[in-house]
Amino acid sequence: MSVADAATPVPLREGLFTIPSRRGALPQLHGSECPQCRARFAGPRVICLECGRRGLSPCLLSPTGTVWTFTIVRQTPRGSVMEAPYAIGQVKLDDGPVVTAALVGVPLESVRVGLPVEMTLHPVRTNDDGRRVVAYAFHPHGEKAGT
């Protein structure tokens, strides 16, 4: 394994989001786009919710959006790598889909409805090979990535 490979983080789950190789590029969520009506959805979908077309195309979703709503979770759920208190929110991406994700890199008291955010990688643990395992999260525009 090359030095560069060892430095590349591993996603918490394969196929959910991209890990950019280029400095300054943002991670993106994998989604689906309808070739007929252009509606977009988070994750894999076979049938379009908007027009009913079967057979959607894979796409990468916009890495930027705004916080539609949020809350601060004050009790660590069993089995979670997040430690309370932490913020989570529903983020409306600029190309339409709404996704629920952790909101990081912002003081809890500054999280608000309407906050412009972008996708970032969030470290969750180190795996047995000593590589960083990362999840996707959102943070305010222009924040330095947490990894």
Binding site: T71, I72, R78, I88, R112, V113, A135
Partner: protein, 376 residues
């Protein structure tokens, strides 16, 4: 001959923690209470429906086991799961069965035994991404509804807290309730924060409990009672995709309510007493808006000013609601119906609304929503 479906009997097992009792025990005791209330024998029941989510106890076929405790005369039994809306959906299916002429008498049992602690959708310790990332937290879903409502309409944390104060006060007069203690606004707001702005006392407990409802055709009911409660209208729904529009609340309650009102030939102004799904305090504020009792955004001040109190303009959750009566998930819909029936019969004692004629139940579960209207 009338096409009416009537509620012949209702019964509950108290809600709370009963580690010494099995799922079957809870269900049987509620069922016996409902049979006695209806004045019938179990052999009169021609179809059984059981609402239950999961909880602890038998993993499958719980309907055969619980109904089997009462007797075995070969009637069809159907297990119904719609998360926290399971037994109200079971009741709709039972009513459809009677209306279709497939049975004269049908019985719904709702039952659940739950573990303590914060409810995590998908189960605590699940390895799916959202569980690992701490996103599948039930109170967080309602906390996010509350935050959006606050941002959009200026609703205040104390408006939500007031729902809990009112519910606990009502539950003082409900012998079947899990929590029969009065709490002040300061105590609600001062309890541990769970998911902002929701504090601990704004979250329903997990519970053990059971409910049972006997439905009958009007013709059958005539042999038992002269003035039954009618199940006037019922409608159900599930999440609707509308591009660019994010919905607040669990499921399309507004749309489902419109369909139920149309069937009943009634409107929000005709409803005298209501049960809504207040698993967390935003449930009451958002739902009274969706039901059309108040305009969008007016729910918070309406609750704050006492509009949903027993003697308010729209009494809501007169038995303490999920917040104080408790929320054994599969049993909740039947418990809501039980309270409406007792109110319409004038049997609600110290929590009795003044001469209600029409009552409404709204029960929701992970996107599924049911609205049922009753009259007498």
């Amino acid at each position: 001959m009338s096409n009416d479906v009537v509620v012949l009997g209702v019964g509950l097992h108290p809600f709370g923690r009963f580690p010494e009792k099995t799922t079957e025990d809870l269900g049987r005791e509620a069922a016996i209470a409902a049979l006695d209330d209806a004045g019938i024998e179990f052999k009169d029941v021609q179809a059984g429906f059981l609402g239950r989510v999961g909880g602890t106890g038998p993993p499958v076929g719980v309907g055969m086991r619980v109904f089997g405790e009462l007797g075995q005369h070969g009637m069809p039994i159907t297990n119904v799961e719609l998360a926290c809306g399971s037994s109200s959906r079971a009741l709709m299916l039972a009513a459809d069965t009677i209306r279709a002429g497939s049975a004269d008498v049908a019985m719904v049992i709702g039952v659940e035994k739950m573990e303590r602690g914060m409810l995590q959708v998908g189960g605590a310790g699940s390895t799916n991404y959202t569980s690992v990332m701490g996103l599948n937290v039930m109170p967080a879903a309602y906390g996010m509804m509350a935050q959006r409502h606050m941002a959009e309409y200026g609703t205040k944390p104390e408006h939500f807290a007031q729902v809990s104060v009112k519910s606990h006060r009502n539950a003082l007069h409900n012998p079947y309730a899990q929590y029969r203690i009065a709490i002040t606004l300061e105590e609600v707001l001062g309890s541990r924060m769970v998911c902002d702005p929701l504090t601990l006392y704004q979250c329903c407990p997990t519970s053990d409990g059971a409910s049972a409802v006997v439905l009958a055709s009007a013709d059958f009911a005539r042999t038992r009672t002269t003035r039954p409660v009618r199940m006037l209208a019922w409608a159900g729904g599930s999440p609707m995709y509308v591009a660019g529009r994010e919905g607040l609340g669990e499921g399309p309650t507004g749309l489902v309510a419109k369909r139920a009102y149309a069937t009943a030939g009634a409107g929000p102004e005709d409803i005298d007493v209501t049960q809504v799904h207040d698993a967390f305090t935003p449930g009451e504020i958002l739902t009274i808006e969706e039901l059309g009792y108040v305009k969008p955004g007016e729910g918070g001040p309406f609750v704050w000013e006492g509009g949903t109190e027993i003697f308010g303009r729209c009494p809501v959750n007169t038995d303490g609601g999920l917040l104080s009566r408790g929320h054994p998930m599969g049993a909740t819909g039947g418990a809501m119906v039980t309270e409406i029936v007792r109110q319409l019969r004038g049997q609600a004692g110290a929590r009795q609304v003044s001469e209600p004629k029409v009552g409404l139940v709204q029960n929701a579960g992970i996107g599924g929503v049911n609205v049922l209207i009753f009259d007498r």
